[in-house]
Amino acid sequence: MLCLGFAFLYIPMFLLIFYSFNASRFVPVWGGFSIKWYITLFQSEEVWNAVILSLEIAIMNATFATLLGAMAGIAMARIRRFRGRVLFSGMISAPLVMPEVITGLSLLLLFITMSELIGWPTRGITTITIAHITFSLAYVAVIVQSRLVGIDESLEEAAQDLGARPYRVLIDITVPLIAPALVAGWLLAFTLSLDDLVIASFVSGPGSNTLPMLIYSRVKLGLKPDVNALATIIILIVTIGVIIAGWILSRQEKQRLLDQQMADSEKYDFSESIR
């Protein structure tokens, strides 16, 4: 069963990558190896615009979502009692389970109302970025919170005890300790934004097509090999992002365990050598 599941997950991706190197115009017909679709791709201004727009949105989204998400995560993990704590945690994680169509639709309504009332924001890069931040910050908050739960709170108390004011504790102790979670959160938010089609389609304006939107609109006109090439590039970027995030999270833990083992095995020599 599991193998079947994996097959359905990965075979299409390999097919897609495979056909992106197909020389033939017709997708299912193999016409020999070629990278001409990649070349056509990079010659198209429309594609370039979409790539740049998507990257801009992804980077801004990742940065703001990490900032706000970290604050929310810290509040959830560290402030033991504040008014509406349960409600707050619930609301933070609601976007994780909310259907994207609903999120997209409601945000669109909000943006329309706002621009009627105060003339801002105009639909396009701004609205897409805001929409992406709202749902990716939930992911960051959850990552940061679960990291903090695993960190002994007495570290922060010890810093306070030594005379550090709360903001110094945050900068000197909390942030370095959750740094891996912040990096992982940033990368996750980045890829979430790069992937998103539904919400972006709802809230984008005329002329602002993100990469997924471009691919989707092209595919509707029929399967073309250059789309395969484009998709292959996205797969590559996302894969690299996920691998880096996972690597950063696991490396620290491994290093710690390794050092711990070394210290334990050395322990007896040390106690001899200082006497």
């Binding site: 007495s154 108390e157 010890a158 306070q160 005890d161 005379g163 050092d259």
Partner: protein, 386 residues
């Protein structure tokens, strides 16, 4: 390491006996409740400057909670704390003149030993050179100079414990709070570190408040001990007071071991009390007076090392402070042996006896199933009403 000085000698003036002496840490009617559970229940405590004061008690009796209130991490539900004459009510942890050594050490994992120890000084905007100097100085005291560039996870448990101690001492706080400082060490290292602690305390003259549930550790370290039970103090006193003159059954049992007897006061004279045990043919003659009514139910505690064991059993034995029995079990502990003596009424009494000569040239004082006589001085039985 130089030999440790006996801290009780430093306190011959015993400030706690002087009604005019001003306590350094003053706790009044301090209470902490978590929901409906009372962790610390209306305690009063005076601690004097330079003391090494121990809080001793079983798990969950509220020791850590009391310490955390002193450090400012836990807000008292009611009551007051003042340190050096200043009320601590609205003073946040980072402005209190106390430092704490945490039960888990709480070393910053991303900083080296040096940075950990220097962190507190950096918060006080001490000059860089001075920080380096003071850090080097304190690391030398705890013998960690060769490890100053290591991260905490590259240290052994005992080394980490000393980093934590150095970090909390380097700011020369007025009061140092130590939460089970030696709990993570093995026995040999623990005993050695106890003496180091006492030396350091003596060198720096800081007031120490040490939490522990190891009574031997408390006896060795402290000028005074507070025995805690269910959020309250059962007794506060010097190690000798607590051991020789426990005031409650809990303290008598918790500190050291004691044979307990239930009994009834049969005679209350001017300078003596006679208690008749409900365990058959056994009466205690105590050579000092108590304000107590006759015929009242009391407990008698008798320390195992205060009992003399003899194999010469006369036909008729004294009326008071002696009893016959049979050796039921012998435990050889090296420096001394424990004899478990079965009395006629099936009660078992533990008696300890130092092994002054080697077993090869002297057999046990008594052997299994020997009939023996137990006796004790009239000053030894401890009369307890609570």
């Amino acid at each position: 390491m130089t030999q440790a000085t006996d801290t009780s000698k430093l306190f011959e003036n015993q400030p706690w006996l002087d009604p005019d002496a001003e306590p350094f840490v003053k706790i009044r009617a301090l209470t902490k409740t978590f929901g409906s559970f009372t962790a610390v229940s209306s305690v009063d405590l005076d601690i004097y400057e330079g003391e090494l004061f121990s809080l001793l008690g079983g798990s969950g009796c509220g020791k850590t909670t009391l310490l955390r209130m002193l450090a400012g991490f836990e807000e008292p539900s009611s009551g007051t704390i003042s340190i050096d004459g200043v009320d601590m009510a609205n003073i946040p942890p980072y402005q209190r003149p106390v430092n704490m050594m945490f039960q888990s050490y709480a070393l910053f994992p991303h900083m080296t030993v040096e940075q950990n120890v220097g962190y507190g000084l950096k918060q006080d905007r001490v000059e860089k050179n001075e920080i380096a100097e003071r850090v080097a100085e304190i690391l030398a005291i705890v013998e960690l100079t060769p490890f100053n560039k290591r991260k905490p996870h590259q240290l052994s448990g005992g080394q980490r414990q000393r980093v934590a101690l150095a970090r909390s001492l380097v700011k020369k706080p007025k009061v140092l709070l130590l939460d089970e400082p030696l709990a993570a060490l093995d026995k040999r290292l623990r005993e050695q570190t106890q003496f180091e602690l006492m030396n350091i305390q003596h060198q720096l003259g800081v007031t120490f408040i040490v939490v522990t549930h190891d009574q031997e550790e408390a006896m060795t370290l402290s000028t005074r001990i507070a025995v805690m039970d269910q959020g309250q103090f059962s007794q506060i006193g010097t190690p000798t007071d607590i051991y020789e003159y426990p005031q409650t059954r809990f303290v008598a049992n918790f500190i050291g071991s004691a044979n307990m007897f239930e009994g009834r006061v049969v005679e209350n004279g001017d300078n003596h009390v006679i208690v008749r045990s409900s365990h058959g043919d056994l009466s205690f003659y105590i050579d000092h007076s108590f304000e107590i009514r006759e015929n009242i139910g009391v407990s008698i505690a008798l320390r195992p090392e205060k009992i003399t064991l003899s194999r010469e059993v006369p036909e008729t034995i004294d009326e008071y402070n002696t009893v016959k029995g049979i050796v039921d079990d012998i435990g050889y502990l090296g420096n001394f042996s424990i004899y478990r003596i079965l009395l006629e009424n099936d009660k078992i009494i533990a008696v300890t006896h130092p092994n002054q000569s080697r077993p090869r040239d002297a057999r046990h004082l008594a052997e299994w199933d020997d009939e023996v006589l137990l006796s004790w001085a009239p000053s030894s039985p401890i009369l307890l009403t609570k």
